[in-house]
Structure formats: structure tokens, C-alpha cells
Symmetry: D2
Subunit: 353 residues, 4 copies
């Protein structure tokens, strides 16, 4: 690390790359050295905003650049593995856009490479760094909700079809990473269904159920073909329940002091109305700090100090294992797939986290 600041090389300046560059550029502990992209027009765009930037069409220029301490990869999913591996082999810390790689095997090889070299490998699961998800995790850690009954999320909108991954690798990946982060429990099986409405395109609509050893169940609904944008998550517990709407400008999280009470004595032949509590609703104030700013600070800290990232390789691998299992289930119209938790790696992750 030269000049007391982390030298950053960014590969890919398409949809997400400019956000990464902007956040690294405004962080005083980092310095964006170089940007690469296959499209010269995008590189010209980047130079207009950051005149001191070196740009290149060859990502090798970044990986070989001795001023680059860390490589940030914001390219299509199918290129993640090759680029990240090359960067690690060149001794660079790596931050990869989600998902970490196209397969669990590839993810494992990246984890091994980073571990062997003592380098930071982090995946850009941006939502983990949003004030909203951090608040929800805080509420769950404080046991505000009681026993968690379910996580139920809908993430849909119109128009941004991906070419190399289906809708679960693009959208459900957010929820899988959130579920792991806030529930701190590993799913044991997954059932998923999906469908494709555009010939030659991957699935654009899917529904995933995750089973756990606990009574908790998680469901994720994703759709690239919705007339309106929806980003809504329900978390139900025995004491309280959360409705999290990421499209709300200010009151993103609403905590409902509602639930059921069991009334075992009713003799009603038709139905027993389980009693329900209906108390106050409370919307905690949520910081408006940009998630990517927090994430970039965290990555720099991890790279400089050797701390294990929150969204480390192992947690990225866990997400990919679920995505792979869900894809297999989709191909079999919902047949449940047992997730064989790779015990060795998990244990290592726990030990070092």
C-alpha cells in the first residue's frame, strides 16, 4: 500500500462500476488508480468525471499495476472467477460484485487462493451494508421479535433482464445473503419454481422456499416482468413483526407489536379464533448513509488490517450453494433439494469470522 492509501483498480465500468468508483474516489483512505472496460466510450465517461484516472481496455494492465493494491470487479457474472483468480494470484485484495462466482466450486477455489495468500476476498452483497438491514439485524439480535417464524420477500420490477444469469442469481441473491446475515441460521433444504417467458432467455420469474432446522421458513419471490417495482420484506416473529419496504423514502422499516395468543378453551365448532394482540406500530429512524460508502470503508479496513469481511468468501459461497440448489429445484418443478452444508469450510468460517 503506497502513499498511506489503498490503490484501487476497477474492472468494469458499466451499470454498477461508476458507483464503486465514486465511493472509492471519495474515501480518503483509498485512491482509484486505474479503470478498465472493453468499451472505450465508458472509459471516456470515467475520465470526464475523474481526469486523473488511468484507463485501459485490458484488465491485465490493472492486475499488473504495482500501484494497485486491490482489484474491484464489476463485470458480468461469468467472468468473475477468472478475473478474481488472476487478481489474487497477482497478490491483490479483491472485491467482487455479487454473486462471487458462477458456481460453488469456483467460489471455493477463490476462497482457497485468498486464504493461502492471506488476501482479503470480499463480495459486494450491498444490502448487508444498508442501514435498514443493519437495523433489522440489530432488532433480531436484541430478540425484539421473539422466535422468528418467517422471512417473506418480494423483489420485482420491469426491464433489466440479465443475459448470463437468471432472475434468482440477479435478485434472489440479495435475499439469500440477507437471510443468512440476519437469521444466522443455515437453510437445510430448498424448493423453488421458476419460469421463462422470453425464448432463449434465462428464468425471469421464480419463487423459492428455504427450510431450516428451526420452525422458521423463508420465501423469496423475484420477477423481472412486473408492471410495478416491489421491494417488500416481511419478517414475522412470535412477539413482533417487521414490514420492510425499501422503496419508502423515509419509513423503510415498520415494527408491529402484533401477534397471536393461543386461546385453547374455545368450543366453537366452526373455527377457533386464536386471540391476537394489536399494539403500536413503530418506525425507527434509519440513517440515510449510502450502503456502498459503508461497504467501501469496510473493505478498505479489511484489506489494510486483515479483518474478516462481513460478506467474506465463505458467506458468498453459502449464498451460491443456495442459488445452485434452487436452480436444480427449479429444473425439477419444485422438488426439494437438500443442502449439504460443507462442514469443514463452515467450521473454518466460524472460527475465523
Amino acid at each position: 500500500m503506497s502513499n498511506n492509501s489503498l490503490g484501487i483498480g476497477v474492472v468494469g465500468y458499466g451499470y454498477w462500476g461508476p458507483n464503486l468508483v465514486r465511493n472509492f474516489a471519495s474515501n480518503p483512505s483509498a485512491r482509484v488508480v486505474c479503470v478498465s472496460d472493453l468499451d472505450p466510450q465508458r472509459l471516456a465517461d470515467s475520465r470526464r468525471l475523474y481526469p486523473n484516472l488511468t484507463t485501459t481496455c485490458a484488465y491485465e494492465d490493472i492486475i499488473k499495476n504495482p500501484e494497485v493494491d486491490a482489484v474491484v470487479i464489476a463485470t458480468p457474472v461469468h467472468t468473475h472467477y477468472e478475473l478474481a483468480l488472476a487478481a489474487l494470484k497477482a497478490g491483490k485484495h479483491v472485491l467482487v460484485e455479487k454473486p462471487l462466482a458462477s458456481s460453488a466450486d469456483m467460489a471455493r477455489r477463490l476462497i482457497d487462493e485468498a486464504d493461502r495468500r492471506g488476501l482479503t476476498l470480499m463480495v459486494d452483497h450491498t444490502f448487508l451494508y444498508t442501514p435498514a438491514i443493519q437495523k433489522i439485524r440489530e432488532l433480531l439480535l436484541k430478540d425484539e421479535l421473539g422466535q422468528i417464524y418467517y422471512y417473506d420477500s418480494t423483489r420485482s420490477s420491469l426491464g433489466l433482464f440479465q443475459r448470463d444469469v437468471n432472475v434468482i442469481w440477479d435478485l434472489a441473491v440479495h435475499d439469500i445473503s440477507i437471510i443468512h446475515y440476519i437469521l444466522e441460521e443455515e437453510p437445510v433444504a430448498v424448493s423453488a419454481t421458476g419460469s421463462c417467458h422470453v425464448a432463449g432467455s434465462p428464468e425471469n420469474m421464480a419463487h423459492i422456499t428455504l427450510f431450516f432446522d428451526s420452525p422458521c421458513v423463508a420465501h423469496v419471490s423475484v420477477n423481472w416482468l412486473s408492471p410495478i417495482k416491489v421491494r417488500q420484506t416481511f419478517v414475522g416473529g412470535s412477539n413482533k413483526m417487521i414490514v420492510y419496504d425499501d422503496l419508502e423514502p423515509t419509513e423503510k422499516i415498520k415494527v408491529y407489536d402484533k401477534g397471536i395468543t393461543l386461546n385453547g378453551t374455545t368450543e366453537d365448532a366452526k373455527e377457533f379464533r386464536i386471540g391476537y394482540r394489536a399494539g403500536d406500530m413503530w418506525a425507527p429512524h434509519i440513517s440515510t448513509k449510502e450502503a456502498l460508502q459503508t461497504e467501501v470503508e469496510h473493505f478498505i479496513d479489511c484489506a489494510c488490517n486483515g479483518t474478516k469481511p462481513i460478506s467474506n468468501g465463505i458467506s458468498a459461497l453459502r449464498v451460491i450453494e443456495v442459488l445452485e440448489a434452487a436452480s436444480r429445484s427449479i429444473a425439477q418443478q419444485g422438488r426439494p433439494i437438500v443442502l449439504k452444508a460443507p462442514q469443514q469450510i463452515w467450521k473454518r468460517a466460524r472460527a475465523t469470522a
Copy 2:
């Protein structure tokens, strides 16, 4: 039929019965003769509102009453079969609260009994008679949406647990009947997951995917343990898409002139942004006529004139077959269940509908 009006006997005066009595009582072609319930207090309530009513704790009094031309059954699900069968055997037309019976076998026996005696057998799938669903069906029949891609519905709220049926028999039954009615296509397989969070209670949360021979897919999410009430349905087509929110007081249906256009020439390595059309939104005026009023008129017409009801025994059976298959899938964590369409009965239904 005496006095030029249909004599009605109502069995069950709990949650839904009063609505049925009120609508039959205000229909000039019907006359509520008698109400039965096991709870004397409820009967007293009914007499307070309708002083000319005969009440009884014994449903046999209704079935034997020669002034009763038609029996309306609003009792717990597990009693439907026995009560409906007794009424049919006594020569009465029958309207049964949804679902028609606890099993497909029972439903088939009721259909046979009604057919043999030339009596009207109708199930109270109320939503089919709402102005909103009738408008959606009209839009689909006019091919306003183009090819139908999906039906995706969420139906959740807090507190009304049923004792003898799980949440899909209570809530998803609405969507299954709606799907059959508006899509006019039979699902060929179902995958469903569900969970129970109250010991000794049936499943209170479930997610169902229905597969069709066409590219259409249907998904239904139901939950008795949601902090807020949700009644929202998306219907996506190749030309337009509908968002139907039954909780909206006036603009229940919104039709979006939105969709995707394929742009095959892009060379973008990262993603191909399928083009999307974003046109006007349109909320057709929806009548505020109470669905049950329409349904009661329809039942009276069918009973008096021998017309086949929209929600006839066969369509009720189709719904139950899906519910049974979904329940089997839930027990196997989402394993898909093939729906063997009972061809003979279907054909008969088609022929007579």
C-alpha cells in the same frame, strides 16, 4: 317453489351465515324460511334482525321443511359433505360455502347426487362474483393482455385461524377458483410449501406454484400470521399487466400498458437490456355492487331455471383437486404433484356448462 319465491333454509349463522341471510332476505325472488345453528345466542341474534324467521338447533328441521326449496350451508368445512348430501337427498337445491367438501371424493359424490336428481349444486366462491374479478375476466376474454405469462397473488392477514382446515383451504381456495375462472386453463402440476407455527394447528402459511401446459405460471402466497392485511394480485401478459388490490376502496384494478420488447442485436457483454415499453396506466371503473348479492341472484336463477351455475359442482371439484394436490406437495416440501385431470367429469362439465 311456493309463493313464486324460492324458500331458503340456512344452516349455520356464524361468521358468514348472516351475510347470506341478509342477501337472500333482500332478494324479492327468495324468502328465508328458517335458520339453524347449534348456538342459541346466534339464533336469537338472527330473530332480532328477522322477526319472522323460524330458528332451530337441529338442521334436520330445515331439510325436512317443505317450505324450504334450497338449503344454504355455512358451517365448518368438515360438515359440508354430510349436510349437503342430506339436503340433496331431500330434494333441495344446495349452495355450500367454499370449499364444497373436505375431499375430491366427497365433492364427486355430491355432484353425482345433484346430477341424478336434477338439482342445483353451487359453491360459494364469492370472488367470482365480485365486479373486480368479472372485469379482469372480461379483459382477458377480450385478449387485452396478450399471452398470459403469470398470475401471482398474495392473501394474508392476522388472526383468523381455522381449526379444521389449513390456510390453503381457507385462503388459497379463493385464488384457485379465480385462476380457473379467468384463465380457463387447467393446471397440470402443483408444487407447494407450507409451515405451521402454532403447535397443533394446521399450516398457517403456504406458497403454491401451479404449472400449466401453456407458458403461464400461477403462484399463490397465503398467510394467517401477517402484521398487515394484503390482498394483491398481479396478472402479467405479453401486452399489458394488471395489478389488482382488493383493499383499495375505489381503484381496485390498474391496467399497465407495459411490457418488454426484444432487442436481439445488442452486443453488451454484461447484460442485454431487453427494451421495455412504459405506457399509460388505466383504472377502469368498477361497480360497487356486493358480490354476494350477484351470487344470490345467480343461485336463485339457477335453482329456478335449471341453469348451470358458474361456480358449479365440477368447478368446485377442480379447486379441491388442486387443494388436495397442494396439500400433498406441502407434506413433501414442494415435490411437484401431477394433477390427473379426471377427463370424463371434465368433459361432462364442459358439455353442460
Copy 3:
């Protein structure tokens, strides 16, 4: 009072009368003896629901009926004075639909008559008995909001034009009574503007500003010609602010822990951004008890025990004085009208309240 229950006679069975009858009928301390209306069809409707009811087209039958202890008046505004006066003179307690009378003079004469005879005179300012307004009053009494800066309310919808009163006597009357009730401060002047868009009809749209001795200001916007229904009130204080939306099914009141903090040291030539606090939002659970049920209980209690009603004659008079002043201001395009608080009467009201 015969039979240990208050005998009730209801004059007027149009839009609001049935709600009054229903609530008195279900109160065990009252007994609806008789209903009058000029329209025989309405009387038939009432008999259908309440077969033991006596009905008449002549309100004198009610006033003369010795079984009637209290007369409830739900007729057009211009008839309130005459009917209420006759009832009081016959020794009956009186509950009158809002507003109490067509003019402050008439209201004063009714107050005097009731006082002289020791009878209860109450006006049906229903909103004062809603759980939402009672909660807001409670929050203000506990000084949760700090110094009150403003009350700003919008009340609009489409279609229910009144013939004998304009929109402020129909809709703003609610807000004026609420303002008096929750602020406990009398306005000292009023400026109002209004307009009429239907020839020969009274004003259908109006905006009223009320000035107080304190820095508080109140504004009320009412409209009979709005495409959508709005019932929204903002109450701003130095510590917290309330948004009350009466159309919300459950979270009617939201309390925002927001406000400004003064930052006097800024030297910015363009603007000084007064600092602002943005804290949590909180929606207290609101009971779903029907306001009219609470009001009817209160009226019965006042009539039986001689308690002063919350919405007594004096508070009704205060509302009418504001309505009259607002009407005068409307006629002069907003010219402010000073409200001469009738000191004697006020003092009496305070002394006895």
C-alpha cells in the same frame, strides 16, 4: 325515566338517523320508543329492522309521548332549532345532529331553555368521540408535542352536496369542534374564502384560517367536489408532529419525533438551514370502538346523571360562532372577522364544565 332505561324518540331516519337508532337500540340503558320521518318508506325500513318500534310521520307524536325521555334529532339543519326547542319545552333531553342550529342566536336560545329546565342539551359532534381524536387530545394534554404550532386539515370528497348549508357547515364543522376540543383555546379571528361551482347551490369549496392569541394557527380545507376522498389532519408542535389520516384502516395516527433546531451561527449568504431532528415515527394502537357508541353512552349518562356533556350547548355555540364568522369572511373574500368571545357565556361554560 321509565323501566330503568332511557326512552328515546328519534326524529329523522335519513342518512344518519339509522346509525343513531342502531346505537341506542343496542345500548342496554336505552330503549328506542319511536321514530318519525316524513317519508313512509324510511319508516317501513326502520320497522323491518326493529319490529317493536312505533313510527310516525308527525314529530309531535314523539315530543308528546310520555315514554320518551330524550329526543334525538337527525333532520336538516334548518329544522334543528324548532324541533329541539319543542322537545326541550316538552321536558325532554335533546341530542341534535351537528351543527346544533342555523345561527348562534338560535343556539343561545336552546342553551337557555335547557339550562332553565335542567335538561341535557348535547350536539352530535361525532369526531370528539372517535378513539383517534381522543388519542390526539390525550397526547396534547400530556404535552407530547410541545408548543402547538398549527392544526391543518383537509376534508374533501365527491358528491354529497347539502341543500340548506354550505360546505363549511357540513364538513368544516367537524374540524372546528375538534380544534376547540384538542387545543382548548378559542380562536380570536377568522379569515375564509369559498366558492360555488353549482348555480343555486351553497359554497362547495372553502378554506378557513383561524387565528389564536398563541402562535398557533389553524387551517381547514373543505371540498365537496374532489375526485378522491381525503380526511387528513396535520398537528405540528415544537417537539413532535402528528399526521392523522382517518381513511387509514389501522394506523390512523402517526406521531413523528421530528422538528427543527435553531442554528444561529451560520454565515451562509444564501440560506440558513435550520437544523432538523428526524427521529422515529410511532403509530399508537387505536381502539376500533365505534364513536357513536361512545357518544350514545355519554349522552345517556349525562341525561340520567345530569353531567355536562363534552359536546354541550356552549361548545356547540362556539363552533357556530366560528362558522358564522367564516361565512361572513367568505362573503368578503377573506377579510378577517374578529370573534367577540361572549365572555359571560364562556365563563358559565367553564364553571359548569
Copy 4:
């Protein structure tokens, strides 16, 4: 104009200036030459984004710069007149942030100076260039709404107090300019009330009624001390009505095919329910083009070709005259102020527009 592009100098780089610089910088027909601000930090910010920019703390450097063809002023309101006059005298076209000046007299002098020199004088009434307002104007021009009954707008939020102007000069100025633009009718009188809740600060809350010769009435409610942001405008007509919510991300404008029909024959003693039509609602697709981009294109076109701007000096003057009259009315608690339309200037405006 050198280099076939309009040389732009921007005075003021605070809240709004950066948006102006960004839009001029991205317009191929313009070239931002120089930016001035009293705050060196802001100038450093501007240079970081636009490294080729000249910056200065002295606005005279801009006005004297021969490469500057047009001066864009984004400074506090009380400085507008002096800066704009100096720029015009130096032969520059001028675009001034709203409002044009602190008084109508100043505005008139600027108009005269620009006219005398044949220079473009334009005010940044940004809303006139939003796709939403242009769509509303289009609907009114096509007579979609029938006779216009009212314009009723609420514009409120928390926290951005201005030092040199009150809330009507800051927020209501938008509505006044919109009203003039879409109604194409001049108000004949104004009544306004306002209040100040921060000692030493201008009014932070106000309500304005504008009267017209036609039956149309306009009302504007503005508030700097609201717990939630509101940007909602109702436009009511005899045939249709519009609800325009600027905070909606996509469906900003909803057109309701609703209204009243007169039913003169009713004999109801209580009320005559004027009949009402309740038809479809329609939300026309609105372009997402940034208003400031359209405005900047228009300014460049006017400066280069001598076209009269939509938001020209005369229309800016009309707005200020209303603001001045409203301020006078506020000082007198709502007393109506007659607007003497300055006939000569109006006629000239009409002739040249």
C-alpha cells in the same frame, strides 16, 4: 457567441447551482466557462467535477469575461436584481433562479433593460418544464377537464428555511407560476394568511387563495414545518379532475373521469344528492426527462435565436406581483388585495410571446 456554442458563466454554486452547471455542461450547444461563489470550498468542489472550469470569488470576473455569452444566477433572492442588471448591462443573456427579483419594481427594470438591449431574460421556474406540468397544460388546452373549477395545491416539507424570503417566495412561487402557465388566466385578487413559528424568521407556513374573473379559484398551501413531504395538486373541472402527486415515482398524474350531474327534481327535505359520475381513472405515461435539461435547451435556443422564453421576464413579473399582494394580505390577516394588472406591460407580453 464563440465556437458555435453559448459561453455560460454561473454565479452561485450552492444548493441549485451544481444542477445548473451539470445541465449546461452536458448540453452540446453550451460550454460552461466560469463559476463564481463566495465560498472557496464550493469552487473546489466544482473544479473536482469539471477540471477545465475557471472559478472565481468575484462575480465581476464572470460579467467581464468576453467568453461568457450568458450569465446564470443562482444566488440568494435579494442579490438577483443587482447581479442580473449588471449582467444585462454587460450585454449578457440572463437566466435567474426563481423568483426573478425581490420586488415587482426591480423585475420591471430588468425587463426594460433586457428589452432595450434585445437580450434574453429568463427566470428558472423549473416546474413549467417538467413533463408533468406540460402534460397537465396539454390536457387543459385540449379542454379535457371542461370548465376549470379549481386548482388546489399543497407543498410542504421539513427543514429548509430560507433567510431572506418567506415560504411563499420560496414554495408558493412554484404554484403561482404553474397557475399562470396552465390556466392562462390572471388572478384578480388574492387573500392570504401566514404565520411564523421561529422568532426572527420569515413566515414558514401560509395559505393563499387566488380569485379570478371566471368561477375558477386557486388555493396554495405551503409549509416549511411539516413532518412529511407533500407535493400534491388537485385540478378540478366540470368534466374531469386531476390529482398530481409529484412524489410518485411513475404515476404522477391521475385523471379522474368523475364529476357531478345536477338532479333538480329531488324533493328530499334533508339534502339533494347531486348525482355524481364515477368513471375510469387514467394515468398518462409521463416522460422522465429532467426538467432542467429541457429548460436549459430552451434558454440556449432563446438566447441564440431571440425567441421569447416561456418563463420570460413578464411572466416572472406576474408571479412577483401575486407574491407581493399575498405578502400584503398576510400582513393584514387575509384581507383581500386587488391585483391591478399592469395593462401596458401585459399587452406587450402578449404581443411578443
